[in-house]
């Protein structure tokens, strides 16, 4: 129950922002992305593959990420995603928006 609630916090746009952020450092495949979100958020955020993969395909469709097949560890072919220049710009823009938004929320929570 509690886990589901936390997942709900991850709106579609937020998930995409996180994915873009994770891809900034280099290419990743879907499983990696899922693990990292869980690990980096200290198990607070957890996402299902059912939400992640459609999000990845949406980003690809919008031209923000680019997919390529490459071999992963143990030589297995896996699909990796990397940020495109458009995606990079999008990330910067959305991050700013997010920080303003988060800052505003935080300010209200603190003072009010």
């Amino acid at each position: 129950m509690g886990l589901d609630k936390r997942t709900d916090l991850l709106q579609q746009g937020t998930l995409e922002l996180l994915v873009l952020r994770l891809l900034r450092t280099g290419r990743l495949n879907g499983w990696d992305i899922m693990q990292r979100i869980r690990v980096v958020s200290g198990d607070v955020l957890s996402i299902t593959p059912g939400a992640l993969y459609p999000a990845l395909h949406r980003l690809e469709e919008r031209g923000l990420v680019k997919a390529e097949w490459a071999s992963s560890e143990n030589n297995r072919q896996a699909k990796f995603y990397r940020l495109t220049p458009v995606g990079r710009r999008q990330l910067e823009a959305e991050r700013e928006t997010w920080e303003r938004f988060a800052g505003a929320i935080e300010a209200i929570l603190r003072d009010a």
């Binding site: 059912g50 919008r62 297995r76 896996a78």
Partner: protein, 877 residues
């Protein structure tokens, strides 16, 4: 752009992308499983956990595809592929359905393209909706429209504010000749130069008339129709400036009109500038002009009509002698040109629409029959997660595939059907020869096909998607399920029967009306008579010269072997040319109606043997003789109807009348002859007056020859005699009177024939529909019938059971159809002659015919039911 490209590529490379998606998700599952194994689970456990955590893999895949935006296309593609497979697997069904639809859609397309060409297509002028015809009319009824006198036209033109330009024309016939070419008689019009400006028409070669050319006494100029230019002058670009002779005098060709130029249902080939001298400018009584006007931008048809109403009434007050009781009104020009045909074509279009509805009902019935067999399939698909909407959509895709195939085949049929219709169509159908499959017709066909597909597909689709999963999946359940499909099919059969009955009643009425028309006593005998037109050149410039020519011609022709009598007349019956005139009775006061106190009649100038040649009987007094010349005492013969109307209870013989047409001197009535239906078989006899051609002969006359045998065999001999008299005079428009009679039925034959064709198609379709439903019922109930037979039912009982159930919707349909016909045949009234729109014998006759056809259609499968072998039936399944 890039996105569209990716989407397209995604669609084309569907297989590749799908397998990539599979591979991507499989990789994820493997990694997750491996992670669980590393955490200490067994491989099997780990795999199950990974799957569980993933959620619905298929669902995910769908969402990924959706993310790529190819989902709607993808579904359509699937449905199409699947639909085609289903249809291919069932070629008999598909063929019957497509053929039925092709017939329905084809007939509609063909008739629509004719109607489009004749009725809907805008006239070939700029902003044609601003063009109107302006009529004089009765102040009491705007429907009583007549053509216009020059003085009224000129007043309108000066005073009416609603119009940008107004023009007029009058029909005329000319002897056309030029150097070294055979003369011919052509129909044409004298037109005011302003008419071309009102229409906004430009010449394709040369120019149109200038206003100066409407002044009397200016150089005489002529314009040619495109057809005449091509036919007689071989499209010679130098024709402009050439000289042609019209009835003698020379005219200079100044221009050629566009090929689609049209101002009247009749086809004109030569146009002369129409001018009014001082006498004509004051002529308010002689009405011979058709007036066409272009409304100013922004003026509505109602405003223009209201203004003309008021103006007409004002002119009636100003000139009570000539205009008392009159007003003026307007009509859209395209209405005037299509006149009678509009109603006929729209009625036929309605009828053929019925045929298509019946075809739809039939195919829907076939689909329902199929649906019963596909309940299992639908149930399986529903169980695998197809939504109800998805099932309906799949079924609709199938029916749209069918209807589009039907539409395509129908288009081919229509291409051929249009040619057939144009060939069948009466000559009075203007612009029909331009009918073809243009963009508008193609759009119509596409629209009709789509609507058809939805119309016949929707009910079966909803029916089929309403699956009771557990019920349908039970292996023992046959397609017998529920009363609903049976109810739907019964309703469809009833609807088919009702629609067919309406069509059959319509056809019955039109056929009966046509037969009535052919049985009408025309008042003259057309058999063995051939007629031709003769126009004398202007050098026959006195009545004596003309009379002398005709007299000599008659003497020569009458002497030919095989000729039993010959006559000249200003025009012959049913030729569409008639000369009206008004007359007064000497010694009588003007009538109480405030008019000129005169009577209207058809005015014939004929030779003595006209009556003998046409078999018109002399009832009283004497006939005309060769002694009734311009110098002898003036005499006239009148028709029975005139005698009865003008001289009720009096002896018309010896009475004096004065014709208001020249020459005006009192004429003594010396004889009464029988009536003729001169204008058309459906028109009651008019009042008719006959005077001798020797007294008042014109340049244009018609020659009529009664032969002992085949009249066509005489034509060459007659032509030789005419050429021997004057080589410049053509024998034009040679036609047997029987042809005139046949042509006068043309429109009625056309509508009766087409309606009958449509009704026959409807009958056939309805019978097939009933047959299909009953066969299907019998097939589904074999088991039950077997039990009944095993329990002792005899053949007769089974027959009664099946036929009785089959006929129930038929009888309901008959009742509904009778009610529908009762309401709808009113629309046919204007097309009927001599038969009421509610003719009981027609209603009863076609109901019986339809019931009999339905009974046959029930009987055949019912008889099959009586042969059910109970033991075989019970073993079955």
């Amino acid at each position: 752009m890039g996105r569209l490209w990716r989407r397209l590529r995604a669609l084309l490379n569907r297989g590749g992308l799908d397998s990539q998606l599979d591979e991507e998700l499989r990789y994820h599952l493997e990694r997750q499983t491996a992670a669980h194994v590393a955490a200490g689970m067994s491989h099997e456990e780990a795999r199950r956990a990974a799957l569980r955590e993933f959620g619905g893999v298929t669902q995910s895949k769908e969402q990924c595809r959706e993310a790529r935006g190819v989902r709607p296309f993808e579904d359509l593609r699937q449905d199409l592929v699947y639909g085609l497979r289903v249809l291919r697997r069932n070629p008999g069904f598909s063929l019957v359905a497509v053929f039925t639809l092709a017939l329905g859609i084809g007939a509609n397309t063909a008739l629509f393209s004719i109607t489009n060409a004749v009725v809907f297509r805008p006239l070939p002028y700029p902003e044609p909706e601003r063009l109107v015809t302006v009529w004089e009319c009765s102040a009491k009824s705007e429907e009583a429209r007549v053509i216009v006198s020059p003085a009224n036209y000129l007043d309108w033109r000066e005073q009416a504010r609603s119009f940008e330009e107004m023009g007029a024309y009058t029909e005329d016939f000319y002897n056309l000749s030029e150097e070294a070419a055979r003369p011919e008689r052509v129909a044409g019009a004298n037109v005011t130069p302003s008419l071309f400006r009102a229409l906004g028409v430009r010449a394709v070669a040369g120019r149109v008339f200038t206003p100066e050319e409407a002044v009397p006494g200016t150089p005489t100029v002529v314009m040619l129709s495109y057809g005449l230019w091509q036919r007689r002058f071989g499209g010679d670009p130098n024709v402009v400036g050439k000289t042609v002779k019209l009835n003698g005098p020379e005219y200079i060709v100044v221009g050629v009109l566009p090929p689609d130029f049209i101002i009247s249902p009749r086809h004109y080939e030569v146009f002369r500038a129409l001018s009014f001298d001082e006498t004509e400018k004051a002529n308010r009584r002689g009405r011979y002009l058709t007036v066409i006007a272009r409304m100013r931008p922004g003026v509505t048809a109602e405003q223009a009509r209201a203004e003309m109403n008021a103006l007409g009434l004002a002119l009636a007050r100003q000139y009570p002698d000539e205009n008392a009781g009159r007003s003026a009104t307007t009509d859209p020009l395209n209405r005037t040109i299509t006149w009678n045909t509009r109603n006929t074509l729209l009625t036929l279009l309605g009828a053929v629409g019925f045929v298509l509805l019946i075809a739809c009902a039939n195919v829907a019935n076939l689909l329902l029959g199929q649906a019963a067999g596909r309940r299992r399939e639908m149930a399986v698909r529903a169980a695998l997660g197809a939504s109800r909407l998805r099932l309906v959509r799949q079924m609709l895709t199938e029916s749209l595939t069918l209807s589009l195939a039907g539409g395509l085949a129908g288009l081919l049929l229509a291409k051929w059907g249009v040619r057939l219709l144009v060939a069948l169509s009466p000559a009075s159908l203007p612009r029909a020869e331009e009918a073809g499959l243009d963009a508008r017709v193609l759009a119509f066909t596409l629209l009709v096909s789509l609507l058809t597909g939805v119309a016949f597909g929707l009910v079966p689709a909803i029916q089929a998607s309403r699956v009771e999963l557990t019920e349908a999946l039970k292996s023992g359940a046959r397609g017998a399920g529920g009363g609903r499909p049976g109810f739907a099919r019964g309703t469809l059969v009833a609807a088919e029967v009702a629609l067919s009955l309406v069509l059959l009643v319509g056809a019955g009425l039109l056929v009966k009306s046509f037969v009535r028309l052919t049985e009408v006593n025309l008042g003259f005998d057309p058999t063995h008579v051939v007629a031709a037109d003769i126009s004398l050149p202007y050098r026959y410039n006195t009545p004596e010269k003309r009379a002398g020519f005709y007299h000599e011609l008659l003497t020569r022709v009458s002497a030919l072997p095989g000729v039993s009598s010959a006559a000249v007349a200003q025009s012959v019956p049913l030729s569409g040319e008639e000369h009206g005139g008004r007359f007064k009775v000497v010694g009588r006061e003007p009538g109480p109606d405030g008019g000129d106190g005169g009577y209207g009649s058809i005015y014939h100038r004929v030779s003595a043997d006209y009556f003998k040649t046409f078999g018109v009987r002399l009832l009283k007094g004497r006939g005309l003789t060769e002694r009734d010349t311009a110098t002898a005492p003036a005499v006239a013969l009148v028709s029975e109807t005139l005698a009865r109307k003008v001289f009720p209870g009096e002896d018309p013989l010896g009475k004096q009348i004065v014709l208001t047409n020249a020459p005006e001197r009192p004429r003594e009535i010396v004889g009464v002859v029988s009536d003729t239906r001169y204008v058309g078989p459906q028109r009651e006899p008019f009042s008719e007056i006959y005077v001798s051609y020797l007294d008042d002969s014109w340049h244009h006359m018609s020659l009529a020859v009664r032969a002992g045998g085949d009249p066509a065999a005489l034509v060459n001999a007659v032509r030789e005699q005419l050429a021997a008299l004057d080589a410049d005079v053509p024998l034009a428009n040679v036609k047997e009177m029987n042809e005139y009679v046949k042509d006068s039925f043309g429109p009625q034959r056309f509508s009766a024939l087409l309606f009958t064709l449509f009704a026959a198609a409807a009958l056939l379709l309805a019978a097939l529909g009933v047959y299909g439903v009953i066969s299907n019922t019998v097939a589904r109930r074999t088991h039950e019938i077997g039990i009944r037979v095993a329990l002792g039912a005899r053949g007769r009982d089974v027959l009664r059971l099946v036929v009785g159930q089959g006929m129930r919707p038929v009888l309901l349909g008959l009742l509904a159809g009778l009610a529908g016909a009762f309401a709808l045949t009113r629309l046919l009234e204007s097309l009927l002659y001599g038969v009421s729109a509610l003719d009981p014998s027609v209603f009863a006759g076609v109901s019986l015919l339809l019931a009999a056809a339905a009974l046959c259609a029930c009987y055949l499968p019912a008889r099959r039911a009586t042969r059910v072998d109970p033991s075989a039936a019970l073993r079955h399944e």
